[in-house]
């Protein structure tokens, strides 16, 4: 029962994030409308070691994003997967010191990989599915602001949350008998 409630709570959280993303992109004036809250949320889950939640909410959020966008189905979903896969690898192997600068650069890299994959896939899908022609260079310039703002949002969110979280688990101290 407790597990079921936890799952329902997590599902509600994921749906709330999508609702906030819609509100952010359609209500806020430029440039605040360019925040990509979905990427920031998935990165926060990675930073706070909630990989399981991150992994199951990834297809759900990706699918929901696909419902109301002008791009062919799949471009955003696959790009989100590539971005998070790269983020997980960087977080585990390269940017491992968990500092605010690491978080910022990781968020920047993830948002950039997401945008690059999204533009490439959008271009390829439109080419093969005979969709409207797109200008990938213009789209890349458009994404620049989104990348920067999303990285700032993810880093600020991490910085604020880390003020309220324990840096070292006391259980670990007792186990090691320090």
């Amino acid at each position: 029962m407790r597990r079921l409630l936890k799952w329902l709570g997590q599902l509600a959280l994921v749906l709330a994030i999508y609702a906030v993303q819609i509100a952010v992109s359609s209500l806020l004036p430029f440039p605040a409308s360019r925040f990509n809250l979905i990427i920031a949320f998935l990165l926060w889950l990675l930073f706070f070691d909630e990989r399981r939640l991150m992994l199951w909410s990834l297809p759900l959020l990706g699918f929901l994003t696909e419902l109301f966008v002008s791009t062919p189905f799949g471009a955003s979903l696959i790009a989100l997967f590539f971005g998070l896969l790269a983020a997980d690898w960087l977080w585990s192997n390269l940017l491992t010191n968990r500092s605010l600068s690491s978080v910022f650069f990781l968020s920047l890299a993830t948002a950039a990989i997401y945008s690059a994959s999204f533009i490439t896939l959008d271009y390829l899908f439109n080419l093969t599915l005979r969709g409207p022609k797109i200008n990938p260079f213009k789209l890349l310039m458009d994404s620049g602001l989104e990348i920067l703002l999303t990285a700032v949002l993810a880093a600020v969110g991490f910085g604020l949350a880390s003020l309220f979280l324990k840096r070292l688990n006391p259980k670990y101290l007792s186990e090691k008998k320090i």
Partner: protein
Amino acid sequence: MFRRWEAKTGFFIAGATIVALVCFNYLGWLGWLKNAGRSIWQPFMAKTSEINISLGDRYAFFKSKEDFFQAYRACETGLAKEKFSESRLKLLEDENLNLKQLLNFREKNNFTLATARVVGRNAEGTEKTVVIDRGEEDGLKINQPVLAGEGILVGKIAKTEKGIAVVRLLNDSQSKAAAMALNREKSLGVVEGGYGLSVRMNFIPRNEVIMVGDQIITSGLEENIPRGLLIGEVAAVENETYRPFQEAVLTPAVDLSKLFWLDVLLTY
């Protein structure tokens, strides 16, 4: 703690789910799920769209008293100009009617339109789109022009599915439309979106005179879009000596952030 191999398995499962979703979508098996998702989220999107329209007015505030008076004076001048053009238009209309009768010209304006309600706005920050409640079953196809009011072009269809279509607005950076200025030379150009912030007319030859206030209409040199749909008017002209063409910044004829009902031009 989520171990490394679990992370690998997790990513594999997530990746497989995504590949399955994409494949199922193109096989047409995901229609019911997408329709269910849209019917749940559509009321929320419509509500945010309504709030956005009412908020739009609050964002457009005046920074100073001077700005306000300047805007007021511009309004008054605009009104006076409007009255003058109205009288001129009436005269031209009469002349036009006479000429048509003389030439036995039959007015051809048998547009087939599909009226649609705006039910949402862009779900992605980088896009400038609106979602309408008509889809492919109503005959909507990609690149069909979308009109507001009486023949004002606001964008084109970018995506159609069952029950909905996504309209790419003129100010989206991927938007393009063949246009013509109503100046002496009838300058041709391409109207493009400027990263969601502005609408520009590019590729205007440098030797042609284009003035602030000139009206911009569709040129008809593009498939699916007839000549004469109003786009907007010139707000500023950029004619740099080092560039092969001049550019004009346009004010769209209708506020692209306040769209309620739209017409999709199916045939003409």
